[in-house]
Every structure is written in C-alpha cells, then in structure tokens.
C-alpha cells in the first residue's frame, strides 16, 4: 500500500481568507448583522503532506467548524483554496477536496453491520475482488482489529470505533486527514494506539490536522501547533520550541 502512495506527490494545500459566521436564528428571513456570530475572520492555514498540525483553542473557539470547512462539509462565507498553482473558491474546489480530504468525527459513526462491512464502504464498491479482501484483511491487522472483524460495528468501544475509522482512512488514502478531538474520553492505552496509527499516516505522507485541547498527548506526532482565538489562527510553536509554549497555551485554555 505504501508503494502505491509514493507515486502520488505530497499534497500542499492552503486555505486562505476563511470567513464564517453562524446565524443565531436559523430560519429567520431577516437576519440582522448583530445576530450573526463571527467564528472566522480572514483566517489562513497551510497543510503539507507528511506534516502533523495540532490545532488548539478553547471550547467553542471554532475548531470543529474549521475542520468541517476544510473537509468540504460546511460552507464558509468565503474561502480561497490554493493547491499547486491553482487558486479556487471553496465551492469550485469542493469536488477536489471531497476526494482528497477526509474528516473523522470525535465519535466516528459506525454503519449497521460488521466491522468488515464498514471497511468495505471505504473501498468504493470494489469489495468483491480478492485484492480488496486482501486489503481489508491487512487494514484490520494494521488497526489491531482482527479479532473484531465480524463484530457488529455499532457495539464497539470508543477506542475501537476510532481505530475502525482510522482503518477506513488507511484504505481510502486521503491526502489530508482531519481529526476532531481523536483522544477525548479515551484511556491511556487507546490514546497510545491512536497516536501510533497517526504516526503511520505521517510516514505515508498524509497531511494531518488534529483539533484537540490535550496538547501533551500529541507530543511525538506534532510538527506545528496552532491556536485558534477570536476568529484568527496563530502559530504558537513547532517541534523545537513547543515546550516553552505550554504555559502560554494552557493559560489561554483556562
């Protein structure tokens, strides 16, 4: 699988001039300006293949909103997407980013049926070839879910669901992987398992963006730390100096 990926150039994708506000009253015809809550005001973010970016910020600062905009699920008021030499609006780039970017929910949704079936969905309906059967077996092994292959996915624990979702991403091979609070409500063992899998994505050349307020959990994985505050994104540290910045970020979280 890794061999296949080396043919793919590493992704370099920039989201700039992101603006987004939520309207407080959803169905009102006349929404006053003052009623709209501004989440992003001209924010920028760059994602590179093989690089892991940690996005921090207090609850309600807009981390999930940003991830959903980047994944192409949520429409921003405006945003420009630049990849290679092309610059596109969010809407024009939607098809491209839907193909390249994958978003994992904090609590991944499991479809009715076995774990294997949930993995098959990530293979685009090519599930009947022996090649895909092989791929699924390897993905199960990769995520340490072999003993769960035939279990109903809806009955898995939080950590196992997360690993199913990561195995789906491993099969799907997106250029960019977005994770929303991947280790919230997890015990230490599950957290370590998740982090180990994330490292493999990095080695493969996937661009990772993790939204989390547990800075210390992604110590090994992270290359760059961003802080989301008042609608702006600040770069507050990288691998070399993040330790000095811990008090800074924890102060803002408090």
């Amino acid at each position: 699988m890794t061999k296949m990926l080396t043919n793919k150039p590493f992704m370099h994708i920039q989201f700039s001039h992101i603006n987004k506000s939520y309207c407080k009253k959803r169905c009102g015809f006349f929404i006053k300006k003052s009623q709209a809550k501004v989440i992003f005001n001209d924010a920028n973010i760059v994602l590179k293949g093989g690089q892991c970016v940690l996005l921090t910020g207090s609850n309600g600062s807009g981390k999930s909103t940003l991830l959903r905009i980047i994944a192409g699920i949520l429409k921003p008021d405006c945003a420009t997407i630049t990849t290679g030499s092309k610059s596109l609006s969010w809407k024009k780039a939607n098809k491209l980013i839907r193909q390249q970017v994958m978003y994992l929910y904090q609590e991944p949704y499991m479809f009715d049926g076995s774990v294997t079936r949930n993995l098959e969905y990530a293979l685009n309906g090519k599930k009947f070839s022996s090649h895909s059967v092989n791929q699924i077996t390897r993905a199960l092994k990769w995520a340490n879910l072999e003993h769960r292959a035939d279990t109903s996915a809806k009955c898995l624990s939080g950590g196992e669901r997360q690993r199913v979702a990561l195995a789906q991403a491993w099969l799907k091979q997106p250029s960019v992987l977005l994770l929303d609070e991947p280790t919230a409500n997890m015990d230490k063992a599950s957290r370590q398992a998740t982090e180990a899998l994330l490292l493999k994505f990095k080695e493969r050349g996937t661009a990772l963006l993790i939204a989390s307020h547990d800075v210390k959990h992604f110590h090994q994985t992270m290359d760059k730390q961003l802080l989301l505050e008042n609608g702006h994104i600040f770069e507050i540290g990288d691998k070399t100096n993040n330790i000095s910045l811990f008090p800074h970020s924890s102060k803002r979280q408090a």
């Binding site: 839907r98 978003y103 685009n124």
Partner: protein
C-alpha cells in the same frame, strides 16, 4: 348467524376452486397497486431523503405539507383526479377516466405522501453524521446514498408496506376513477363493496380473506427482517 359459517365455508371453497372471476379481481388489484407503488417509490424516497438532509429555504413547510396530505381522505383525492380527468377537465382529452391508468394515478396520489413522510422519518432516524460519513467514504454521492438506504432499510420497508396497505384496501378513489368494471377496473375493495350491497357475502368474505392474509404476511415478514437486524446487532 348460522349462515355466517356456511358463507365463510362457501368463500373458502370459492378461493380454492379457482373461480375465474374472483382471481381476475385479485390479479387486477395487485397489478394496479404494485404498479402504483413502483412508480411512486423512487421519487418519494428521493424527496424524503432531500427533506431529511438537504438544507434549503422552505424545507420545514414542505415537511408539514406532506404530513398534512396524509390526512386527506381518499375520496377527496379521487374527486380531485376525477375532475381533472373528466371530459371537461384539463386532461379530459386523454380519455383516462374509468381505466386502470386512472386507478394507478389515484393510487400514486394516495401513496406518495405516505412514502415521502415515512421515508423522511426513516432517513432522519440516521443522524446527519451518518450521511457525512457515507459521503466521505463513498466515491460519489450516489454510492453514499445507497449506503444510507441500507442503513435505514427497515424504515423504508415500513413506508412501502404502509403505503401498499393503504392503496390496496382503499375503496373511494378506486370506485370513482375506475368505475368498478368487471375484468378491467374491478379490484378487491370495490368488489367487496358491491357484492355486500347486493347481499352476496361469500365473494366479499373470500376477498376479505385475501386482504387480511396479505396484511398479516407483509407485517410478519417486516417484523422477521427487523428481528434479524436486531440479532446481528447484539
């Protein structure tokens, strides 16, 4: 009341003797209702899906409209279509009144709101997260749609059964639009109504047995399927 037993026995023997008239009525009933469901099904499920997941202005109004259409009596649906199809009506030139086509149209109109409202409920039972996940996993929106269809399949089967049950047993619109013509538009409910008014209960009871056993069979098979779904969840 002693005659009730003899009439029922007569009805059963009528069914098993393969009475040509009786079986023609049954055949017409199932043919018309199945055609109507098959035509109404696809657009209704797509609409129910759109109402559940798409966000467009007037969405809530649409949902209330379909929910209130559920309460419109079949005779009113029949009357409306009668006016439209009658000779002076806008579609009078098509000469469809008192034909199987008119009955199919009536049954489509009757089943469509049920199918939309119930499939909307079914799709809503899977959260928006399910749709977004299907969308990220599948290569295009169509395959994502099939993943979600499978996810809510019991709700959709329920919608189909409820709609089928309503149209196959409905008298008002069938009578007005079809006209109860033997071997053409006489179906189970119109035949029952007519035979009963003539005082001939045997055929009515025989047809009633068919309707009731079909209702039992459909409900039981749905429950069986749901039960199997539950077991695989354990």
């Amino acid at each position: 009341m002693g005659s009730l037993l003899t009439t029922t026995l007569e009805a059963i023997s009528l069914l098993f003797s393969g009475d040509a008239e009786l079986w023609s009525i049954i055949g017409i009933s199932f043919r018309i209702s199945t055609t109507a469901i098959l035509i109404a099904m696809i657009p209704a499920i797509l609409l129910g899906f759109t109402l559940a997941y798409a966000n467009f202005p007037g969405r809530r109004i649409f949902i209330s409209i379909f929910n209130s259409l559920l309460a419109v009596p079949a005779v009113v649906v029949g009357l409306t279509l009668y006016i439209v199809l009658s000779r002076q009506g806008p579609l009078g030139e098509w000469k469809l009144l008192f034909s199987q086509t008119a009955m199919v149209l009536g049954q489509i109109a009757l089943s469509f709101p049920i199918l939309v409202a119930m499939s909307h409920t079914a799709f809503q039972s899977a959260e928006i997260r399910a749709w977004d996940t299907a969308r990220t996993l599948a290569k295009n929106p169509l395959s994502a749609f099939f993943i979600i269809m499978r996810e809510v399949r019991f709700g959709l089967f329920g919608a189909l059964l409820a709609a089928y049950g309503r149209i196959i047993a409905e008298v008002g619109a069938s009578m007005m639009l079809g006209g109860n013509i033997l071997n053409s538009t006489r179906n189970i409910p119109t035949a029952i109504a007519m035979e009963t008014s003539k005082g001939e209960f045997a055929q009515g009871i025989a047809l009633g047995i068919i309707l009731v056993s079909m209702a039992f069979f459909l409900t039981m098979s749905l429950q069986y399927m749901q039960g199997r779904g539950k077991i695989s969840n354990d």
